[in-house]
């Protein structure tokens, strides 16, 4: 749609993976909502203040669909979260249906039952780390390749009923669909990813399993409006969201814990006792990706001193909101003692991340196991020199070199 604008363009430049782009705080100082330009070059509102972020995420006057999708601001050239989704008229009904299908599989009780399996998988990852260290004692071990990536990907593959042996394929597609200026390559990767999920679904129709794809197929069989495209897009989205995000949090959490040896020692002395609050602080402070959550106004809304017009794109910068000094004392400090810690890492309101219990469970197990096994873990590189993948929707780093 319209292009010419002098508003700052996302993603903003950040100094290193631990700190946010300073422009977020500068914009917040001027007001809770600012005019910005999306990575795709279209106008949008950026929400940087905690109160307004939480209000908008919990307000049904903001949705993911658009009254006239062809006129909507595009966010990026990635194959997901790049523009409006779903039907404007049926948005609520479609969302309710999707939540109903998925809630049982991602519920906290189900995660409790899954915990021992996640623990086994985590222990396997740590064994791999030990082996890598023994094979090449002078080389730092890349925690990203041996724990942060494989653990979440194995867990989500099991949950969805997808073969582990395809994980390199899945990794490739996931990376390509999340590139902000991915364009036709991102679309092609999404099409291949969906075709793959279609084949998985075909196999599950013949031989149902105890997995989320089978759950989705049951609902699809009873609902003629639930198309094959809806089904494969949902399954591909779950696989993407189910590992990219958790993977970056395990990387960033490790960095935050290792930056300060006293912080690491405190955690390593009592991982079980400290892990719950520590994971929440890691979720608040780690800021993979530079965009945030995307909404479109369903009607004109007065908020934060501005009028957001019907159809306007709104990017809720949850990373910036999580460091709003009005909501969190010393917002840039890592302080697992904050209580309560009502961060927005999983969003807020009706679209709150359905995978939050899964992510929290994986993170708790990963950090507890990691620091039980390697209490003297240390970084083998200056974390401030690590490159963050600002070109990716989910951000993240590819290397977290560690020694012990």
């Amino acid at each position: 749609m319209t292009t010419p604008t002098s508003a700052p363009q996302l993603p903003f430049t950040r100094p290193n993976p631990m700190d946010l782009a300073p422009l977020f705080a500068q914009l917040r100082d001027k007001g809770p909502l600012s005019r910005v330009t999306t990575p795709a070059g279209d106008p949008a509102w950026l929400v940087t203040a905690y109160d307004e972020a939480r209000t908008i995420l919990g307000d049904r006057r903001f949705g993911k669909a658009h009254p006239a999708p062809e006129k909507a601001s595009k966010i990026s050239g990635a194959a997901i979260q790049s523009g409006p989704t779903g039907s404007f008229e049926d948005e609520e009904r479609e969302h309710t249906r999707m939540r109903r299908v998925l809630t049982p599989a991602f519920s906290a009780p189900r995660m409790r039952r899954l915990s021992s399996r996640i623990q086994e998988l985590a222990d396997g990852c740590l064994d791999d780390m030990e082996r890598a260290r023994a094979d090449s004692p002078d080389t730092p071990v890349n925690l990203h390749d041996l724990l942060s990536f494989p653990l979440p990907v194995q867990v989500i593959c099991e949950l969805l009923g997808v073969s582990q042996s395809d994980r390199d394929l899945l990794r490739g597609w996931s990376e390509r669909i999340g590139i902000l200026d991915g364009g036709s390559d991102a679309q092609e990767a999404m099409a291949d990813f969906q075709a793959y999920m279609g084949r998985v679904a075909e196999a599950k129709r013949e031989r149902p399993g105890q997995d989320v794809v089978t759950d989705i197929l049951k609902v699809q069989a009873e609902d003629p409006t639930f198309t094959e495209d809806d089904m494969t897009r949902l399954a591909a989205g779950l696989l993407f969201a189910g590992h990219e995000t958790t993977s970056t949090r395990i990387d960033f959490g490790t960095l935050f814990l290792l930056i300060d040896p006293a912080r690491r020692d405190r955690f390593a002395a009592d991982p079980e006792g400290l892990v719950q609050a520590t994971v929440e602080e890691i979720l608040r402070l780690s800021a993979p990706g530079g965009l945030g959550l995307m909404r479109y106004a369903r009607e004109d809304v007065q908020i934060g001193g501005v009028t957001v017009a019907r159809g306007d794109a709104v990017l809720v910068a949850i990373n910036a909101a999580n460091r709003d000094g009005e909501a969190f004392a010393e917002p840039d400090a890592f302080d697992p003692d904050r209580a309560p810690n009502a961060h927005l890492a999983f969003g807020h309101g009706g679209h709150y991340c359905i995978g939050n219990a899964l992510a929290r469970t994986e993170m708790r197990i990963a950090f507890t196991s990691l620091f039980r096994r390697f209490p003297g873990l240390r970084l083998a590189a200056d974390p401030y020199t690590l490159r963050e993948h600002s070109e990716r929707l989910t951000g993240g780093v590819n290397t977290v070199p560690v020694l012990w």
């Binding site: 919990g58 309560p340 009502a342 009706g350």
Partner: protein, 67 residues
Amino acid sequence: MQVEVDRDKCVASGQCVLTAPEVFDQDDDEGKVVVLDDTPAPAAHGRARQAAAMCPGVAISLRDEGR
């Protein structure tokens, strides 16, 4: 501390169960919040406060805070 929930507002996130498992559970059917202990012991108050603050549906309220 008295724990009250509004199940109509609950969005079945399950964060409360993970945060304060001695106070909250989810039902099997819809995943909506179930209160296990509406007058939790002081040791659980911090976790209950975290669960209420995080609740994405603002479905949890705590009365007699601080007593």
